[in-house]
């Protein structure tokens, strides 16, 4: 059961080689064995998971089996799941039992997938190392002295350590692709609006997007078939026909035009990572793709723009945590103002407070034009760069992250260094484009990811291009030694 793909698990369940209850037991035992060492899960509820597995077995018995029916999926603790603690990695929501299901959870429930537990994450998804979580940092199964990346670090570590066959994640500036890169996984951030944000705890609403984190592109396609789709409960959800992401997964890629942005290969990228990316490019050449050089001249501005727009939206979104209706409330206070201010002082961690304050500052009277409006204008320039680039290529290829997994504590005290982790991923969020990271090699025994960026709604194409790579290489099959 340990190394089977979602497709193989599905077939085994169909052929009654094992039941969903047995499969769920198997992974719950893996959690008993390994979760303490990597801290990938915040909440595990065996009774709930097994009850879901029992229901899934009945669905299968009745001939009502979907691709993911009976398969345990790790859910990032950003998705509200009724009856489950949903903390978003924060003390502020440590006591919050979600009273309803997010649309993503609802969709997994509807097909009979099993919720294996809620995964650890950077507090309110703000971080690139999973060190800002109230529940302690997650460790990378490839080397437990290093970080798994973030913010979806728990989901990444869970799948990399084979504690779960697949996981959900979210990506505001790289939170799916960077941890996927650092943990040797395939992760997809879809086009903005393709997956519903309803019940997904908000960080920066114009950038947040959910997606899958798996071993292979094919598994990601199966997850996308469940997660995507229009949702009237999310006003930014895109109204378009639901696709089947598996249909074109094996299509030949001969003649594919791959654009290589020269700006992604400048200072800051580890030379050994560059070499691995070049090997990947050569692999695609062998597979019949044509390589063209492109330019994304404003990419270097994506971090400054992001650190205006994301904190601005966050400062507004996180104003809801006031201690009144749900979540943490401070113990002693004399008046309402003191209650608000102490609750937020005690309930939020340092990074979250920093970002709320930056957001508050850039939106405050007198500064709006210089910061927020300016950032929105440069956001347009960054987006236009992609538009131009896609006139000359079908897909863009580059690194997912500037480094491999780094030692825990290495960048924690220096936010600026940490922010550079997302230098190749943020521009896609600003433009709303889909991006995928997949394993492409090892540097010092740690995984390196290749990023593929596609045009709007080209997820099926991205998954196809990644799948063809994976059919011809073996990087996605590697696992960390102690978790085999």
């Amino acid at each position: 059961m340990l190394n089977l793909s979602l497709k193989e698990l599905s077939e085994c369940l169909k052929e009654k080689k094992f039941s969903s209850v047995e499969l769920t037991h198997f992974f719950l035992n893996r959690l008993d064995l390994h979760n303490e060492s990597i801290n990938a899960f915040i909440t595990i509820d065996k009774d709930k998971s097994l009850a879901m597995a029992k229901r899934s077995d009945e669905m299968i018995k009745e001939g009502n089996q979907n691709y993911l029916t009976g398969i345990p999926i790790a859910q990032k603790d950003i998705f509200c799941a009724e009856g489950w603690k949903t903390s978003c990695g924060s003390k502020m929501l440590d006591n919050f039992i979600a009273p309803y299901d997010s649309t993503v959870i609802n969709k997994f429930n509807a097909v009979g997938a099993v919720n294996l537990g809620k995964t650890n994450m950077d507090e309110f998804a703000m971080g690139s190392s999973n060190e800002t979580s109230f529940y302690g940092n997650v460790k990378n199964p490839w080397d437990i002295k290093t970080v798994p990346g973030g913010s979806s670090g728990g989901s990444a570590a869970a799948v990399a350590g084979r504690l779960a066959p697949a996981a959900t994640a979210t990506d505001t500036g790289g939170s799916i692709r960077q941890p996927a890169s650092l943990c040797g996984l395939t992760g997809l951030k879809p086009t903005y609006g393709l997956v519903s944000r309803y019940g997904m705890i908000a960080f920066a609403s114009s950038l947040d997007q959910a997606g899958p984190m798996c071993h292979t592109a094919e598994d990601c396609a199966a997850m996308m078939n469940v997660m995507s789709g229009h949702d009237p409960k999310d006003s930014t959800s895109i109204l378009r026909e639901k696709e089947n992401y598996l249909t074109s997964i094996n299509d030949p890629i001969k003649g594919l035009k791959i654009g290589i942005p020269k700006e992604f290969f400048s200072d800051g990228l580890e030379p050994e990572i560059e070499k691995i990316i070049e090997q990947g490019i050569n692999e695609y050449k062998k597979l019949g793709a044509e390589i063209v050089e492109i330019s994304l001249p404003n990419n270097h501005l994506s971090i400054p723009v992001y650190y205006v727009i994301a904190p601005a939206e966050a400062s507004s979104n996180l104003s809801r945590y006031d201690g009144v209706r749900y979540g943490y409330r401070t113990k002693e206070y004399d008046d309402l103002m003191e209650m608000y201010c102490k609750t937020r002082e005690e309930g939020f961690g340092d990074e979250v407070k920093r970002r709320i304050m930056i957001g508050t500052y850039v939106l405050s009277a007198g500064y709006y034009d210089a910061y927020y409006l300016k950032a929105q204008k440069i956001r347009r320039l960054i987006s236009e760069d992609f538009k131009k680039a896609f006139e000359n290529c079908d897909v863009i290829l580059g690194p997912s992250a500037p480094s491999v997994a780094f030692p825990i504590g290495d960048k924690k005290e220096d936010p600026l260094k940490m922010y550079m982790q997302d230098v190749y991923t943020i521009s896609t969020n600003l433009a709303g484009l889909p991006g995928l990271s997949m394993p492409a090699g090892l540097m010092n025994k740690l995984p390196v990811g290749i990023q593929l960026i596609g045009n709007y709604f080209s997820e099926a194409k991205l998954l196809n291009i990644a799948n063809i790579f994976q059919m011809n290489t073996g990087w996605h099959n590697l696992s960390p030694e102690e978790f085999k």
């Binding site: 009273p99 501005l301 400054p304 409330r329 201010c341 709320i356 508050t360 204008k377």
Partner: protein, 95 residues
């Protein structure tokens, strides 16, 4: 960009976050660093460029004003630290 203690405290107050003297100094250093990064934006000429609020051109959809999930009062109130009958309780604000 330099922040003095009063400015940091003002921002913290606008954000409704308590902050003590010692933290204010620590926070101002970090915020100055981040604003230094943000200031790279000033090098770019953005005259005549339309601001982009959203990745895709979307319009707000309308729906009928109908209750879709009613009767959630009990469920919602259960999540609060302090309630009384159907109300959330907070310190008195009107004398």
């Amino acid at each position: 960009m330099k922040f003095d203690n009063d400015e940091i405290k003002k921002i913290a107050h606008l954000a409704r976050i308590n902050i003590n003297e010692k933290e204010a100094i620590k926070v101002s250093e970090k915020l100055e660093g981040i604003l230094g990064l943000i200031d790279q934006m000033t090098q770019v000429n953005t005259d005549c460029i339309e601001p982009m609020a959203h990745a895709l051109d979307i319009t707000q959809p309308f729906r009928e004003d109908k209750v879709t999930e009613g009767d959630i009062r009990e469920k919602s109130l259960k999540l609060s630290k302090e309630t009384d009958q159907s109300l959330f309780i907070v310190p008195r604000v009107i004398e």
